[in-house]
Symmetry: C2
Subunit: 317 residues, 2 copies
C-alpha cells in the first residue's frame, strides 16, 4: 500500500516546526522545538524524539513516505546546510543524511523559498502549473522557480536568488548580502520600512506615519496607515510595487512563466501591492507577454505554509 | 539500424541554408536558397527539391532521423513561425508540419538562439553541460537557456528573451522591440555602433573613428580601431562588456549556470569584450558564485553554427 503521510520540517533561526501531512495537504499533527541547540547531534536527537510522538499517533514510521525540510541555505543536491548565517551550526551540516539515519526513511532538504514553491505546486494555487515563479516577500526576498514542473536548482543547487538581482544600478541601497541595489533592499519588509523613512525624511507631506519614531516604523505600520487612507503610505506601496513589477517583467523574459505567486507578509497587503505590481509589470513586458502572465497570492494557510511546502518534497522521494 | 544523419535548416531573412549533419557534427553536404518567396508553399517546395539532391547523395531519406530548423520567431511547442517581422509570410506559418509533410520525416523548429544553444550542447563547448546560458551577440541579442540538459521554453514556448531585460531603467535607449533600455539596445552590433556615435559626440578625445562619417560607423570599425590601440574604441568595448557582465550576474542569480557561452559577431572581439564582461560579472555576483561561473566563446565553426544548432533538434525527434 502507498504510504499515506510525509513529514514536513520548517527550520527557522529560532524555532523548528514539524508536522505530519497527508496527500491533500492537511496537517494531521504538528509540534515545534527550539533551533538554538549549538550541538547539531543533540538537536537532531530532540527533533527525532518529539517527532516520533507524532509519528506514533498516526500508526508508526511505516506510514511515512519521506521527510522534507526547508532550511536556511539548504542545498537540495548535496543535502547539506551550507554556511547558514542565522543558524547555530558553523560550516557544512549534512542534514538530509542525519535525518535519514535518525528516522530510517528518505529525507531531502531545500531552502525556504523553494519549499514554498513546491508546496504551492503540490497543494496550493499553482496546482497543475508547470511553469511559475514563487516570490517570498518577508524579512528578506526569496524565490523558487519552477520550470517544466520542477524546481530550478542550477549547476550547484543554489539557483533562484531573485531577491538579489540588481534593481538600482547606481547608488542603490546597501543589501544584507554585502552588495547594493538588490531587489531585497527595496521590497522586503525591511525595505518597505526603509522606503518609509526615506520618503518621510525627503518630503514635507503630512502622514500618520510621522507619529511613529522613524527608526521604529515597520512595514505593518505602513500597511495600517495605507488602509487608513494615508497618502504617503500608499505612495510607499506604489513605489514597492513598481520595483517588483519592473523586475517581474525581466523574470518573465527569462522563463516565460504562467504565473508569479506572491507569498509572505507583504502579500497580505492585497490590492495595495498587487495593483502597482501588475500595472508596472504590464508596462514593461515584451508585447508577446502582455495580459498573459498572472500575478497571484499564495493560498496556503499562513501558519502551515512553510511546513507544507517542505513536506511536499517528501512525496518525491 | 540507427539513422545516421539529420537535416539542419538555418532560416534567415534573406537566405535559408540547409545541410546534412552526422552524429559528430560534421556537415556532410550543404546548400542554400533565397527566403524571399512570398508563397510559403512554393518556398517549401523549392526547399524540398534542393534538399532532396543532398539527401540522395547520402543514400536517401531512409538515412535521415529528423529535421531541425532555426527560424525567426519559431515556436518549439506549436511548430509555428509566429508573426515574424523579417520574413515574407504574414501571421502564423505551421512550418514544422509543412516540413514533416513535405519530407516524410519528423521535424521540429525553434528560434535561432535556442538552436545555437542546442548546437553548442550537442557538438560544441557546452558538450556535457546540463546548465548553461547561450548569449548570441549579433544584429540583435538573443539567448538560449539550458537547465537540466533541456532548453527552457516556458509556458508558451517563448522563454529566453534575455536581450530584452532592462539594463537602463530611466532614459534608456530606444530598442527595436518598442520599449527602452533593453540589453540589446546596448550590446548588439548596432548597440556598439550607437555607443561609438554617442561617445564621439560627447567627448573631444582623439580617435581613429572620427575619420568615418558618424552614421556609417559599424561594430567592425570599433573592433578594428580597438585592435589598433584606439583608446575611445577600447572604452566602447569596456562599456559594452560592463553592461553584459552586470546583466550576467543577474542571470546567474536566476539559474545558477555552469557557464555562459557567447556566440556571434561581437564574440570575435576576444579579450577586448571578455575581460570587461568577466570583471563586471564577478564584481556583481553574490559571494556564493564568485569565481565559479565560466564565460566561454562558442567553438562551433562560424559559417555552420546556426545550421548545426538547428540540426541538433533533429536527433531528439
Amino acid at each position: 500500500m502507498e504510504k499515506p503521510y510525509v513529514i514536513g520540517i520548517d527550520m527557522g533561526g529560532t524555532n523548528t516546526a514539524f508536522g505530519i501531512v497527508d496527500t491533500r495537504g492537511n496537517v494531521i499533527a504538528k509540534s515545534a522545538i527550539k533551533t538554538d541547540n549549538p550541538d547539531i547531534e543533540a538537536y537532531v536527537q530532540e527533533l527525532k524524539e518529539e517527532c516520533t510522538k507524532l509519528i506514533e499517533s498516526v500508526g508508526g514510521i511505516d506510514k511515512i513516505k519521506g521527510i522534507g525540510a526547508g532550511c536556511p541555505n539548504g542545498n537540495y543536491y548535496t543535502g547539506n546546510i551550507e554556511f547558514a548565517p542565522n543558524l547555530p551550526w558553523e560550516g557544512v551540516v549534512p542534514f538530509a543524511k542525519m535525518l535519514t539515519e535518525a528516522f530510517g526513511v528518505p529525507a531531502a532538504i531545500t531552502n525556504d523559498a523553494n519549499a514554498a514553491a513546491v508546496g504551492e505546486m503540490t497543494y496550493g494555487v499553482a496546482r497543475g502549473m508547470k511553469n511559475f515563479i514563487m516570490i517570498t516577500l518577508g524579512t528578506g526576498v526569496g524565490s523558487g522557480i519552477v520550470i517544466d514542473g520542477k524546481i530550478v536548482y542550477g549547476h550547484d543547487g543554489f539557483a533562484g536568488e531573485l531577491g538579489h538581482v540588481n534593481v538600482v544600478r547606481n547608488n542603490g541601497r546597501m543589501c544584507g548580502c554585502g552588495r547594493s541595489g538588490c531587489l531585497e533592499a527595496y521590497t522586503s519588509a525591511t525595505g518597505v520600512a526603509r522606503s518609509a523613512r526615506e520618503i518621510l525624511e525627503m518630503s514635507q507631506t503630512d502622514s500618520q506615519l510621522r507619529s511613529i519614531p522613524a527608526e521604529s516604523i515597520t512595514s505593518k505600520d505602513v500597511f495600517d496607515a495605507a488602509m487608513n487612507g494615508d497618502e504617503v503610505a500608499k505612495e510607499i506601496f506604489n513605489y514597492t510595487g513598481k520595483i517588483l513589477g519592473e523586475s517581474f517583467a525581466d523574470f518573465v523574459a527569462f522563463s516565460a512563466p504562467e504565473a508569479i505567486v506572491l507569498f509572505g507578509g507583504l502579500a497580505k497587503a492585497g490590492d495595495l501591492i498587487l495593483n502597482p505590481i501588475v500595472e508596472n509589470m504590464e508596462k514593461n513586458l515584451l508585447p508577446i507577454w502582455k495580459d498573459k502572465v498572472k500575478v497571484l497570492f499564495s493560498t496556503l494557510k499562513d501558519a502551515d505554509a512553510a511546513l507544507l511546502g517542505a513536506s511536499a518534497l517528501g512525496w518525491e522521494l
